[in-house]
């Protein structure tokens, strides 16, 4: 087996894990499968593109050290995360909040499917379907040993994704808001009894989920390219990873995303790169048939 595929899989897996965390949180706290989540990645990537583009007029466009990106993108990253979180909140306020009150979760799924299409098409309208890049500099892949090569950007993405995962774990286990989110996910009625305001938790969930999706989107744009369908094309692997890891489990989402990413990459030498969705779908079917609660999930 070629270790290069494994390395590529780890990169994809890190992105899927990061994107999946927001999806699994929304799924367990807001209680619906949010089909807009993939497009949150896209929104984040484009928001960073716009902000970094504007900033590079003042700060210059050259990269720092071996990386293709410089201060403009680093500053743009938190802005893009906030913008995506704000969009998530706006959608909630316009659409999901009203439907949630009626208590029909499947109508929420339907609405999110529609919102996904609308958001994606608006991006396509604003930015055209042409792929975009944060930088046109070519990066040289460095040898890492075991005949594996990776660009500095790819290494940065994997490391930063790991850091984000750890930060998230601390947030969820060591802060009052993190515990409140987990409490609402597990038992919303008891959480209210314990004095947790569900509306605050819902807002925090959208901020966090949207922000992490944007982070994954920027990383994806950095290592692949920026397209209107970039996030939506990841939605199926994202769902597969979340369900594989167990809905509601943040470590599960990270691990599940990694497994799906590596499985896709390992399948490439046998069936070609065009079959990622098929691999994710087969994994998804297998999990649903064999262990529907996922690796880290609990029986509901």
């Amino acid at each position: 087996m070629n270790p290069q595929f494994l390395a590529d899989g780890i990169l994809t897996g890190a992105l899927l894990g990061l994107g999946g965390v927001g999806l699994t949180l929304a799924y367990s706290i807001l209680r619906f499968a949010n089909f807009v989540h993939g497009d949150f990645l896209t929104v984040g990537a484009y928001a960073a593109l716009v902000v970094a583009g504007a900033l590079s007029q003042f700060l210059g466009g050259s990269g720092i050290g071996p990386f293709s990106f410089g201060w403009p993108l680093i500053i743009a990253l938190p802005v893009a995360m906030a913008a995506t979180g704000a969009l998530a909140l706006l959608l909630d306020w316009l659409l999901f909040r009203r439907l949630r009150r009626r208590g029909e979760e499947i109508v929420l799924v339907m609405a999110s499917f529609g919102a996904s299409l609308a958001v994606r098409s608006l991006i396509e309208f604003a930015f055209t379907p042409e792929p975009k890049y944060y930088s046109h500099d070519l990066q040289i892949a460095m040898p890492l040993g075991f005949s594996v090569r990776a660009t500095p950007d790819q290494l940065a993405v994997v490391v930063l994704a790991g850091v984000a995962g750890i930060a998230l774990h601390i947030l969820l286990t060591r802060t009052a808001m993190g515990r409140a989110m987990r409490a609402v996910a597990e038992n919303p009625a008891l959480a209210r009894v314990a004095g947790i305001d569900p509306a605050r938790v819902v807002r925090a969930t959208w901020w966090l989920g949207g922000g992490l999706a944007a982070l994954a989107g920027v990383f994806l744009g950095l290592t692949v390219q920026i397209r209107p369908y970039m996030g939506f094309d990841l939605l199926l692997p994202l769902f597969a990873g979340v369900i594989l890891g167990g809905v509601g489990s943040v470590p599960g989402a990270l691990a599940g995303g990694m497994i799906v990413g590596v499985a896709e990459a390992l399948a490439v030498p046998f069936i070609g790169a065009a079959w990622r969705g098929g691999v994710a779908f087969l994994l998804l079917l297998a999990v649903l048939l064999v262990r529907p609660q996922g690796l880290f999930g609990m029986e509901r």
Binding site: A33, A111, G114, A115, A118, A274, W275, F281
Partner: protein, 319 residues
């Protein structure tokens, strides 16, 4: 004059093709409460299976290495489409229907994505991005183009749609439909009366997908050409919009919804083509999708049961 008439015939033909798919979705969602996000996938299965069954072996698609079709009669192709669609829906149903409702959504979404990938990449089978051409028409003797062919197409589609309506109406008005409604109202009570909820739902999935497969097969043979780009999420979404606008649970509403949404879709296309410069044609196509998205969001928010409410018996069961 003939131009207008031709266009009208074409428009109504498209409305009716979509109506067949909406009928299927109405069985799944309107009667059984099953949320299918893979409508495009099931329509696509119908289109591709019928094409592969009916395309003559020596024609095939322009792509290299195409295995070609079997050259079977068109109606056999349609029957194969119906069966293949129903079978694939049953598989997804078996995998997901014992789980939370939205796992079915994810599963059907998954099959649509995977099938689209298959269509786009399995060049030897599906022609890949080039698609499959020379799909035989039901009445091969009538030359394409012109008002006569347009009216014939309309007649054929109307027959197919009428047949689908009749069959589905018979089934949903009978014991099967009653069991589905009982299930939607109170699962425990229905189960205690001897209905097997999971089996009923798998059957509803299959019946609905059968109609979607028929829609795909009819469309394929009318246009004579299919490509992966015809079976993308926007199609799923249009069919959903038609159902929601037309009135969930009502077959007649489905017809109205197909008419309204296809009208909106076509009108939005012409409108954006008229007001946007040609350089922004792709932008206009995107805005048109946004328009549909906003329409369905508004109908979900303000008219959850659609504009044409279903009959009293149905509405009592649909909350």
């Amino acid at each position: 004059m003939t131009g207008t008439l031709s266009y009208l015939a074409f428009f109504l033909t498209e409305v009716l093709v979509n109506f067949i798919a909406v009928l299927g979705l109405n069985v799944q969602w309107g009667f059984a409460g099953l949320f299918n996000v893979g409508v495009a996938g099931f329509v696509g299965i119908g289109a591709y299976v019928s094409a592969l069954l009916t395309v003559p072996p020596w024609h095939g698609a322009p792509g290299p290495g195409h295995v070609g079709g079997l050259g079977l009669p068109v109606l056999v192709g349609w029957a194969g489409a119906v069966l293949a669609s129903a079978a694939s829906a049953a598989v997804v149903g078996v995998a997901t229907l014992r789980l939370r409702a939205d796992y079915l959504a994810i599963g059907t979404f998954g099959i649509a994505v995977a099938l689209h990938e298959l269509a786009a990449n399995a060049q030897g089978l599906t022609g890949g991005p080039f698609g499959i051409a020379f799909i035989p028409h039901l009445l091969a003797a009538v030359p394409p183009g012109g008002l006569a062919r347009g009216l014939l197409d309309l007649a054929i589609t109307a027959l197919a749609a009428g047949a689908a309506w009749l069959v589905i109406d018979r089934i949903t008005a009978g014991p099967f439909g009653r069991a589905l409604r009982a299930l939607a109202q109170d699962e425990a009570a229905a189960a205690s009366l001897g209905c097997d909820p999971r089996r009923l739902r798998i059957q509803a999935m299959a019946l609905g997908a059968a109609a979607m497969g028929l829609a795909g097969a009819v469309q394929a043979s009318l246009i004579g050409y299919i490509a992966p780009g015809n079976f993308v999420p926007i199609l799923t979404f249009q069919v959903w919009a038609m159902l929601v606008v037309g009135g969930v649970g009502s077959h007649r509403g489905a017809l109205f919804g197909a008419f309204a949404i296809w009208g909106l879709w076509s009108a939005a296309g012409s409108l954006f083509a008229a007001i946007l410069p040609p350089s922004m044609a792709t932008g206009g196509a995107s805005l048109r999708i946004v328009a549909i998205g906003v329409t369905i969001a508004i109908s979900l928010l303000w008219r959850p049961r659609g504009l044409s409410p279903p009959g009293r018996i149905v509405s009592r069961f649909l909350r």
